[in-house]
């Protein structure tokens, strides 16, 4: 029997596991979290999640973090997040499906390091999964349709949403949406109605350009933007707010795929028609291969799971995936990131949050003829060398310095020295 390991139990990984089981494989599904569902399906603690049927047909490993990959050999730590003394395991399947998803992409702006600034996804996760409102008076801003469900979830946990701001102007947004996306448009209309009911203003062509406060956010400055995201002078408006949630789309989490040797395209894992990566026996699905939302992620997962198990994905399955990918591409065109965003930054604006490297330091280092090259730049400014290893600032640093973003992170997830020294690895 083909042994398939699926990493990530979000919409993509769950669909991959279900389809690999259906195609006759022996499946192990693992996730860092204690509960299945990934970033999309979040329930308050203890609620039944609805994936019991599929989990009962495979080996389900919750609280299992893959910290390294070599070929198809996976190194796993089982136990509470970042705890000491987790159990070490090695898995060596016949085929591997990577479905590690994405995290929010957030562009830097003055004050974005202050407590009270959250990614849109963090606000969503805290509201949906933990029933916590990140603030009492909240501004939600950035780019993309995801801002609307975030605002809705904030309202549901009792926050007051002062405004939702889409940075792109109506002319850009209109380009991406079409009658073909009627179902999706209906969903957005529902969110818009919820906002209207709560009298939450939705503005296009406006962005948060500064968060103010000493020890925490106390005010948020917004401004009108042109189509390229340059600020229109004199259009600033200040809100008294205790939280701001920002998201400018999503960035994939490709660490494991990079470690396995998979080729990337623009940061996303490159896949063939059946979700096969450039490495034999390794498949990828979901936001890792392109940002398209939960339904598209599940469609890709279904194809990947079937193919990983040695099956031939059906024509209807492939067609559905292609349709959803097309929708994702149009959505990306409707909500691009404008090239003029660095205009928001000041000399002293922090770009690398971990090392507190500023925009001024980066642009000076990039201009210095004596220290060219991304490696020297990193060592000189320390940007991207902190604990997050450039996950958050990588794209911004390369945009500011004109260098290519590197996705190489030798350790995909932190492991403690004590755990590393522990010689016992359990084969499973």
């Amino acid at each position: 029997m083909t042994r398939v390991v699926v990493v990530g139990a979000g919409p993509a990984g769950l669909a991959a596991a279900a389809h690999a089981v259906r195609a006759g494989a022996d499946v192990t599904l693992l996730d860092q979290s204690a509960a299945p569902g990934g970033q999309f399906h979040r329930l308050p603690p203890g609620a039944p999640h609805g994936f019991e049927a599929i989990l009962s047909r495979c080996s389900w490993w919750p609280e299992s973090t893959v910290w390294a990959v070599a070929g198809k050999r996976l190194h796993v730590l089982r136990g509470p997040a970042d705890g000491a003394g987790r159990e070490r395991h090695v898995l060596e399947p016949d085929a591997l499906v990577l479905a590690t998803g994405a995290h929010d992409r957030t562009l830097p702006f003055p004050g974005w390091q202050l407590p009270g600034v959250y990614t849109a996804g963090a606000a969503q996760a805290l509201a949906k999964g933990e029933r916590v409102a990140v603030g009492r008076r909240v501004v939600v801003a950035g780019a993309g349709p995801f801002l609307l469900p975030v605002a809705e979830s904030l309202l549901a946990v009792g926050a007051r949403v002062l405004a939702v701001l889409e940075a792109n102007p109506a002319s850009t947004v209109r380009k991406g949406w079409s009658w073909r996306d009627a179902r999706k448009a209906g969903e957005l209309a529902r969110y818009a109605a919820a906002l209207a009911r709560h009298r939450v203003p939705y503005h296009l062509g406006r962005a948060v350009v500064e968060a103010r406060g000493d020890d925490r956010v106390r005010a948020v400055v917004t401004a009108r933007l042109r189509a390229d995201w340059s600020v229109v002078p004199g259009t600033e408006r200040t809100y008294e707010a205790d939280a701001v949630c920002v998201g400018h789309g999503f960035a994939p989490r490709p660490e494991l795929a990079v470690a396995a040797g998979c080729a990337l395209d623009g940061g996303f894992v490159r896949v063939g028609d059946d979700q096969r990566t450039s490495v034999p026996g390794v498949f990828a699905a979901g936001e890792l291969t392109g940002i398209g939302g939960a339904v598209a992620a599940a469609a890709e997962g279904a194809v990947a799971g079937c193919a990983a198990a040695g099956g031939v994905p059906g024509r209807a399955l492939l067609r559905e995936r292609d349709r959803l990918r097309g929708f994702a591409a149009r959505l990306a065109a409707a909500h691009p990131v404008g090239a003029a965003w660095p205009g928001w930054l000041r000399e002293d604006t922090i770009v690398c949050r971990c090392e507190e490297t500023t925009a001024g330091e980066l642009t000076r280092a990039a201009r210095d003829p004596a220290a060219p090259g991304p490696h020297a730049l990193k060592l000189g400014t320390r940007a991207g060398l902190g604990p997050c290893q450039g996950r958050l600032c990588g794209a911004a640093v390369s945009a500011l310095c004109g260098t290519a973003e590197r996705h190489h992170r030798p350790i995909a997830q932190p492991i403690r020295l004590g755990e590393l020294a522990e010689v016992k690895e359990n084969d499973a």
């Binding site: 860092q32 970033q39 970042d82 600034v117 990614t119 996950r391």
Partner: protein, 84 residues
Amino acid sequence: MTVEITVDGEPVAGTDGQTVAAVLLASGRLSWRTTRSGAPRGVFCGIGACFDCLLTVNGVPDVRACLRRAADGDEIRTQSRADA
């Protein structure tokens, strides 16, 4: 159901299953780590990518509060970069 933890010695109650970050935020704490320059930090990404939310759980430093579920009796200590 509730869990009870201590934060720098002070008792704090949360809901069973909540992450340490959620328990802290719900108790009105916004930040629990300081950077090398002394600036305060708490949750940013919420899903384990940014490492802004690090704290010490039962003596083990550098635990991402947004990923770790709070367990009854957990002793949480706030953290500065110098401890790490």
